[in-house]
Symmetry: C2
Subunit: 430 residues, 2 copies
Amino acid sequence: MKTTIAEVKNYVGQEVTIGAWLANKRSSGKIAFLQLRDGTGFIQGVVEKSKVTEEVFQIAKSITQETSLYVTGTVRVDERSPFGYELSVTNLQIIHEAVDYPITPKEHGVEFLMDHRHLWLRSRRQHAIMKIRNEVIRATYEFFNDRGFVKIDPPILTGSAPEGTTELFHTKYFDEDAYLSQSGQLYMEAAAMALGKVFSFGPTFRAEKSKTRRHLIEFWMVEPEMAFYEFEDNLKLQEEYVSYIVQSVLKHCELELKRLERDTTKLELIQAPFPRITYDEAIQLLHEKGFNDIQWGDDFGAPHETAIAESFDKPVFITHYPTSLKPFYMQPDPNRPKVVLCADLIAPEGYGEIIGGSERIHDYELLKQRLEEHHLPLDAYKWYLELRQYGSVPHSGFGLGLERTVAWICGVDHVRETIPFPRLLNRLYP
Amino acid sequence: MKTTIAEVKNYVGQEVTIGAWLANKRSSGKIAFLQLRDGTGFIQGVVEKSKVTEEVFQIAKSITQETSLYVTGTVRVDERSPFGYELSVTNLQIIHEAVDYPITPKEHGVEFLMDHRHLWLRSRRQHAIMKIRNEVIRATYEFFNDRGFVKIDPPILTGSAPEGTTELFHTKYFDEDAYLSQSGQLYMEAAAMALGKVFSFGPTFRAEKSKTRRHLIEFWMVEPEMAFYEFEDNLKLQEEYVSYIVQSVLKHCELELKRLERDTTKLELIQAPFPRITYDEAIQLLHEKGFNDIQWGDDFGAPHETAIAESFDKPVFITHYPTSLKPFYMQPDPNRPKVVLCADLIAPEGYGEIIGGSERIHDYELLKQRLEEHHLPLDAYKWYLELRQYGSVPHSGFGLGLERTVAWICGVDHVRETIPFPRLLNRLYP
Ligand SMILES: [Mg+2]
Ligand SMILES: [Mg+2]
């Protein structure tokens, strides 16, 4: 029976054949232990000299790391292994021998591993991160589909941009100038007026010269936008969504979290509702924590976010930021227009902001005034303004950064490991 | 009870309030019929002069198209409407009045509608297409998740490209040159060697000056790639997948297909297996159909694809194209190296090619030779070649174009209506 490692549980006591790669091995005189991987999982193959032909045992002894092969063996329950099963090997058939595989079980520098990202993905750690990323993606579709959201794909190539043309990648679009989208939000607002509740999930681009563990040049973002949702509805959806993906990973990626040595007790706490503090309270909290420099009107940096997050064991919403700190489209608080009806969601354990969101301005005159204050070209935003001319309604939305969220859930330090092929400053290969 | 049009079925006989827009209306002396939409669906609201206040009846008589409002009314079963329910209105509360909405129930030219795409999406027809697109996306995730595939997001920004640098959008990536990806396939091959079965689903870009009803500059593609899959396994997966999405749409989008007046008997036939003909047989078939010019070695154009499709009531695989017509990475047929182990899947009813796929070359020397024959720079493909140095295995994959597939399922003539904000030659707005 040809099968995969993920499926061996269905064949206990039976002989199966698996196409696989050798991840690692150890052997003594009469027995060899092969660590096998096939993409669906990892399993140990046990080759006993007394139970196989001389030729097969010689293969087991000499096989090199990352050689591809067909392994035939009997599935056995193995309670000592985290996976739970092993193979009593009866036959080995080499497909292709790998000579001098560059990534050995030794330690390698990050730049070396990044140069070999196409191979590094084969490692246990990267495999676990990619499976968790996949589960976050899967759970995201499930969450929004179950709630009647329509997936809408906003364009990547745009003639204009939400916040001016800094930090944008430029390209010639035949005779015109085009930019790579930093956010599909404005388009999602148009879609929400047509389809009610919508979400996007796609790549976005920031030509930012920052080199931090939280920044990627190209990253994936989930951007839901909802007609008739006000500030409070928006926060409620966000905490439900973030809880949902964390609980889905806990449920479906037990092995992977274990492999990453993630402290899952911290993730178990991630259940809605989440705590909320205002920007004003956050400033006060920072003063109490000894950040004496920061003043009302200043934006928070990573150290501030980390300090605020330390006071909570769940993600925390920081609400009502100064209007001056936020983009033009955010709805001012009617009772206090110098702050906006927005919230950033800060992950625990120092992972920083994972969501930014707000209620959007729905009044035509106010939106026009804000565009002018930001010196944005009205003709490029003509269509966006028109959304407020024809049946404008209160609406809200948010954007969640996939890689930061995956980094937090996995407990990995740097977002570069949370995307298959990271794009960083000076990193466009492979 | 505040609810949505999609949910009124749960409130028959009860009073509900819905945030909505006026799509259309007609009225006589004592009664007004409001066609309401809220993104989740369309419903008729019936306002009887005798049953509401004078003020509410005046609103019903004077309300303009695309005005937003809260509608309160009692849910009634209505067997004459395709939707099945209507509202006996008790109250209307205007949120925002729309003055001179540009898209009236009259006919408009396509360029006018495209200039107003942000509003055009609100129409019944566009709403139906977007819901079907959404269902194809949802079913795609379901299909691949259920089969153990891992979603992998290949980079959009790349330093090199599968097939040379023609028809690529260029951008400066800080000090380097980068191009927008036309296909994530090469990266998906690396991922398949790590994770076994993988799929991508994201935007791709072709800076092609073609202006046909089948081409978009920016379009979405599903690209699965599978280790240990050979030619035949690949075709089997494709026919199962295409059947799955068509049957999912039939099951979940009955109203939308009806609204588009789609002949669903044609879609009901779309069940695996699909017919297969070789390129050689296709040439012969074309000769029989009077295409006398076409010769062995020529590529098929849209008229050829349409003529071939006419002979089948399911999608048809055309297999074993001449090696010279196809990209460098396709595996030659070992019995006849002048053709490759590839297949294009041609949709019925003249919708053309929706899938291209093949087994990939897994032999290092052959791949290197093919790169050289195509004058491609070996250093840019170093990582890709390395996949054949370290445990190379037979593998296959394919790419499905989302918009062409949605156009076919919807029965719409031009792909421009199947993506929320199409990018075409001379079309970068809105
Ligand atoms: Mg911030
Ligand atoms: Mg073709």
